[in-house]
Symmetry: C2
Subunit: 224 residues, 2 copies
């Protein structure tokens, strides 16, 4: 269960302050398949980074299961992140000195899983990239890098997956294959939150939260 | 006029070779508004990098106006690039130590234009980012970075604009504003080639080239 209450985020740049989130409150229950939409600059990634324990709110509270995340330090945040959350970054954030396969192996090695190499290859197969396992990020296309980042987020089978614009660089068919992969994981109980600007992608989700200027504009179940 | 003849591109990685383009031939006339589509990994960025004089083909010829680009060295390629082409990278490629405004000023300064700072701010206004001129790339959202990259490609008013997935991180409304900007430039004579995976974006163009596995699958005018 994700419980966000009155979360605000202010970025301070010297004498200028940017209020990216202004009092966001929402619950996400286990097993949800939810989309977050909104215009460029509206605060979607800022919200995802807070839910994903990558950043702390300026004010407000955030409970992940029963843990009060907002008050945690960096070490505690990292421990929760590694155990509970798979995060697909809008900017991929792959390590350029490692191959695709090694990038996907890393979370398995950190978490102490065995057979990391085989499991990493299997995750790459699921995103259609077994034939690019030995390529480094600079030797991959934009959409291929994005899919390596997706494979890396899925490989430890975390209970929560947060994907920030996971299909932005993918053609429709490849994007649908990724959404089918997310849907299959959700049917097995994984909680999935996806930021997207594409309505066809949001259609796969059961709930759509619209963000505008750092606040929730609407929060609806599909078909409402 | 862009004239590409039997262009192939092979990436060699040690003992493995990846044939990214296999004998591509196409002409693009001055003032065209053309989309290039195709699945992830099909060779779109590789083709754009060659047309944009950022990379050389492995074989084949490429004439840009009457210049034989395929045989040029790095210095000659850079000179043609700076004079003739505005390039929007799929990965933005902004300089992280400079503000948005400074990133957009740079091509003006290189080309010896005066009033670089005012012209840069005007270009940022055209992409809706005057209020973020002082932010560095790390202090911008994904779609905002993408728009700074677009402003930078447009600011010297080059005769040819090549945009690789310019709306991948933008919501529909912001994406339409960018396409309207491209359309206005095209009506004033700028040749525009856009890689996109979104059919709604390709709809703005008069010609759509479909790429598949490094080869042209189809090349049609809109409505054919
Ligand atoms: N430097 C490189 N070394 C080896 N292979 C490469 C290199 N760059 C690209 N490739 C491969 O060449 C193929 C074409 O890459 P390209 O970037 O042109 O694809 P694309 O059509 O732009 O894909 P996307 O839509 O995902 O951005 C890809 O399969 C990629 O793995
Ligand atoms: N480190 C930072 N310092 C200052 N301002 C920031 C910082 N990071 C983000 N911002 C600003 O906060 C606002 C929200 O950013 P955020 O990345 O959450 O937007 P977004 O909804 O994800 O946009 P996009 O769809 O373009 O990715 C933006 O206007 C951005 O300029
Ligand atoms: Mg974002
Ligand atoms: Mg590409």
């Amino acid at each position: 269960l994700i419980r966000v209450r009155e979360v605000s985020k202010v970025y301070s740049m010297g004498d200028v302050e940017v209020a990216a989130l202004k009092g966001i409150s929402l619950d996400v229950l286990n097993g949800e398949f939810t989309a977050i939409m909104g215009s460029s600059g509206s605060g979607k990634s800022t919200l995802m980074n807070i839910i994903g324990c990558l950043d702390r709110p300026t004010s407000g509270s955030y409970l992940l299961d029963d843990d009060d995340v907002a008050g945690m330090n960096e070490v505690e945040l990292a421990s929760i992140r590694n155990r509970k959350i798979g995060f697909v970054f809008q900017t991929f954030n792959l390590l350029s000195r490692y191959t695709a396969r090694e990038n996907v192996e890393l979370p398995l090695i950190y978490a102490g899983f065995r057979n990391a190499s085989e499991r990493a290859l299997k995750a790459l197969k699921e995103v259609g990239l077994a034939h690019r396992a030995t390529h480094k990020p600079t030797q991959l296309s934009g959409g291929e890098r994005q899919r390596v980042a997706i494979a890396r987020a899925l490989v430890c089978a975390p209970p929560v997956i947060l994907a920030d614009e996971p299909t932005g660089n993918l053609d429709t068919k490849t994007g649908d294959e990724i959404m089918a992969l997310f849907e299959a994981l959700n049917e097995r109980g994984t909680t999935i939150i996806i930021v997207t600007h594409e309505h066809e992608i949001a259609q796969w989700c059961r709930r759509v939260i619209q963000i505008r200027d750092g606040a929730i504009l609407s929060d609806k179940l599909k078909g409402e």
